[in-house]
């Protein structure tokens, strides 16, 4: 590994932007998880008025070029924001609608960025796959036929951006020929299954879908990082307070060493996520960028699994109750570790990409 040269030293101004973005997000989101808890198992699993507020802050527009009415920020800004969303377990579909927004032509954007219209991506046809080329959804320029699965937040969408064997298509949720069923997810949200039986849709040509998926995947990794870091801090705090055998359980060395193992995993994850963001912001090859994203998502999924599992164990029986907040972190992690690609899938993709990079 070569040490980077001094020329790429920190851009102080940019650090300051990131800090402000992070602080304002943290300020708005606060530390109380009552709202998150109340929205669970209620359709659509998030709150439309909070959604509009978030859109008002520009959180959906971070990666949209200024020329298109967005903020035109880099990926380093985006992962800083996404980590805050994860720390607060935000249920609103910012990352996914952000993915759609990057793919949409200018005329669609104002309604999306303002929060009026929620357009969710629908690409998946079977479980466990990456967002690769679809194998069965067809589109003849007018009508859509096929099925998409695991569309997160589907019941909250006004329209769907659908991958087809002939490119992207936009279809209204209420269009005739669109049917939606849903399955509840551990975080209190749901996955939708969409069936298209000749629904009329509009072609969305020339969309940077792969780049948008890369952004969303890395943002999801950052969300998992923020989630894991907070779950870890809560666990450390609990270890300091919870007493057994006349002392805080955090004084027991076996638990201390396990806490350090988690702390190391978190440090590796933060390094990996920030590195991927820097890579996307640089002008290296696409395959190097994708490799860095896969590395970060593989690490973040691994980290979130490990940290949340250990957080439950270190909380003891209280961690197994639904009323303990730590469980919210585990359940969100269960929903996200394999979303936008599992650790397995990204590990394999990383190796494949490194061969060509």
């Amino acid at each position: 590994m070569d040490i980077e040269s001094d020329q790429t030293a920190t851009d102080e101004e940019r650090m300051e932007t990131i800090r402000m973005l992070r602080d304002s997000a943290a300020g708005f989101l606060g530390s109380d998880l009552g709202r998150v808890r109340r929205l669970r198992f209620q359709d659509p699993g998030f709150d439309r008025s909070t959604w509009r507020e978030m859109c008002g802050f520009g959180w959906l527009s971070v990666r949209i070029p200024e020329a298109q009415g967005g903020l035109g920020f880099g990926m380093q800004e985006y992962v800083a924001l996404a980590a805050e969303l994860g720390a607060a377990l935000v249920p609103e579909p910012l990352i996914l609608v952000g993915l759609s927004a990057r793919c949409l032509p200018q005329e669609y954007l104002p309604a999306v960025l303002s929060g009026d219209r929620i357009i969710l991506p629908a690409w998946q046809e079977e479980a466990g796959t990456l967002a690769d080329a679809p194998r069965q959804t067809t589109f003849d320029g007018r009508k859509l036929i096929g099925e998409k699965r695991f569309v997160m937040h589907a019941r909250g969408a006004d329209a769907f951006l659908v991958t087809t064997m002939s490119g992207l298509a936009l279809v209204e949720a209420m269009a005739s020929g669109v049917s939606l069923t849903a399955e509840q997810t551990q975080d209190g949200g749901h996955y939708g299954t969409l069936r298209f039986d000749g629904a009329v849709a509009n072609a969305i040509p020339d969309a940077p879908f792969d780049a948008a998926v890369a952004d969303a995947t890395l943002a999801s990794a950052a969300y998992l990082l923020g989630l894991s870091e907070r779950a870890f801090r809560m666990t450390i705090d609990y270890l300091k307070i919870r007493r057994q055998f006349g002392k805080p359980v955090g004084a027991f060395q076996a638990l201390q060493h396990r806490a350090v193992d988690l702390y190391l995993e978190l440090a590796l994850t933060r390094a990996s996520v920030e590195n991927a963001a820097t890579t996307i912001d640089s002008n290296v090859s696409g395959s190097q960028q994708r490799a860095a994203v896969s590395r970060a998502k593989a690490r973040a999924s691994r980290c979130a699994s490990l940290v949340c599992r250990e957080a439950i164990q270190l909380h003891g029986a209280i961690g197994y109750t639904d009323e303990a907040d730590i469980g919210l972190f585990l359940r969100k992690a269960m929903t996200l570790i394999n979303h936008l690609g599992s650790e397995r899938a990204h590990r394999a993709r990383y190796v494949a990409l490194m061969k060509v990079a």
Partner: protein, 384 residues
């Protein structure tokens, strides 16, 4: 309740066949293979069927209405229940309180309580853990103070499994605060349907209500409800733990999880994936070796040996294998890892549910950490 024939006379194979046959004919099909712990309202027909057959308490002596079975035959019976997918009963009366009363209770206590366990009239729960006394169970602070002919109980118990179904609770209570913590604890029988007792179910991570908190506010209990001597409760409760721990080491959960892992791999198209096959092979080896280790402890029990502290190994081994298998299920389940309901309506394939079920197995019955402390101190004789 009827007193059945003595089945110890049968050879093991015949005994197994007899049990299997009877279960198949008598088990209510609608509650086979439940995915969560059933409430008494749901498992009552099965409870009463066993009661009528005289098979509710395989381990109790026959003179108390039990089957008086050998350890081997009890295990065979358990295996057959599990093989058929029988629901677990509200069994604290049969497995915990009964044996304790038989060993330490007075004749009057036995006559009063044992028949009502067998008839289903008394459903018991266990009041050991408290918010401040989990791993450090002996640090419990719920107290019972003698006031004339009554104990007055104040405090809170938690993780009292199925307490909302129970009308009685056996509790560890502090009866002397001036001595070493283990030496001031007594064992008390308390009705739940009296003034001052409040029960609140707690939802767990699966959002089931298996366990509860129970609050005791000046609850008055007749003096004769104390079992054994005053301040001897800790010792009495501990003598029962060995037998519990070998059951916690039964390969049942890990074995079931491994079979689900195979189903899941098929569902995900990974059944022939070389990496999956290798991971699966290691789990197979781990399970096979655990089975053998478990069998070696059972054999010691069968030879009449008393099991030492190393029985804790079984609990660690089983629960952590169970956990590792379900961890891996989430790794390969793709988006299914997020689902609350079983995959595609197949109630036998619920990776997230099984993953969550595995979480408390390393916490209850003495956490993995406590079991390791026990082995380090009492078996390896390490200092500190």
């Amino acid at each position: 309740m009827s007193t059945g024939e003595d089945l110890n006379a049968l050879d093991d194979a015949t005994f197994r066949a007899t049990v299997r046959d009877w279960i198949e004919k008598n088990y209510p099909p609608e509650i086979r293979n439940p995915t969560k712990r059933l409430h008494f309202a749901e498992n009552k027909p099965w409870y009463l069927a066993l009661s009528k057959k005289g098979w509710l308490a395989p381990g109790w002596p026959r003179e108390h209405g039990g089957m008086g079975l050998s350890a081997t035959k009890q295990l065979i019976m358990t295996e057959e229940f599990e093989r058929h997918g029988c629901a677990r009963l509200n069994d604290h009366g049969m497995t915990m309180l009964g044996p304790l009363l038989i060993r330490y209770g007075t004749e009057a206590q036995n006559a009063r309580f044992l028949p009502k366990i067998l008839s289903g009239e008394h459903i018991w729960c266990q009041g050991y853990s408290e918010p401040g006394a989990g791993s450090d169970l002996a640090g419990l602070s719920t107290e019972a103070v003698l006031d004339g002919e009554h104990w007055v109980v104040n405090g809170q118990k938690t993780w009292t499994t199925m307490a909302s179904d129970a009308n009685w609770i056996f509790m560890l209570v502090r009866t002397d605060k001036t001595v070493k913590k283990q030496e001031g604890i007594s064992f008390l029988l308390v009705p739940m349907d009296v003034p001052g007792v409040t029960v609140r179910p707690i939802l767990n991570l699966e959002r089931h209500d298996d366990f509860c908190e129970a609050f005791f506010d000046n609850v008055r209990v007749p003096r004769e409800n104390l079992v054994g001597e005053v301040n001897q409760g800790w010792t009495m409760a501990k003598t029962l733990l060995g037998f519990e721990r070998i059951f916690l080491g039964s390969p049942r959960q890990a074995s079931y999880a491994l079979s689900r892992l195979e189903l899941l791999a098929e569902h995900m198209g990974l059944a022939d994936d070389a990496v999956f096959r290798d991971r699966h092979a290691q789990f197979e080896l781990d399970l096979a070796d655990h089975n053998t280790l478990f069998a070696s402890f059972v054999a010691r029990l069968r030879r009449g040996e008393t099991l030492g502290a190393d029985v804790s190994l079984l609990k660690i081994s089983q629960s952590e294998l169970f956990r590792r298998i379900t961890d891996y299920m989430l790794e390969i389940a793709g988006e299914n890892a997020a689902l609350i309901e079983p995959i595609e309506g197949n109630r036998d394939l619920n990776p997230a549910g099984l993953f969550l079920q595995a979480r408390p197995s390393t916490i209850y019955g003495g956490s993995s950490e406590i079991q390791r402390n026990i082995i380090a101190k009492n078996v390896l004789d390490l200092p500190g």
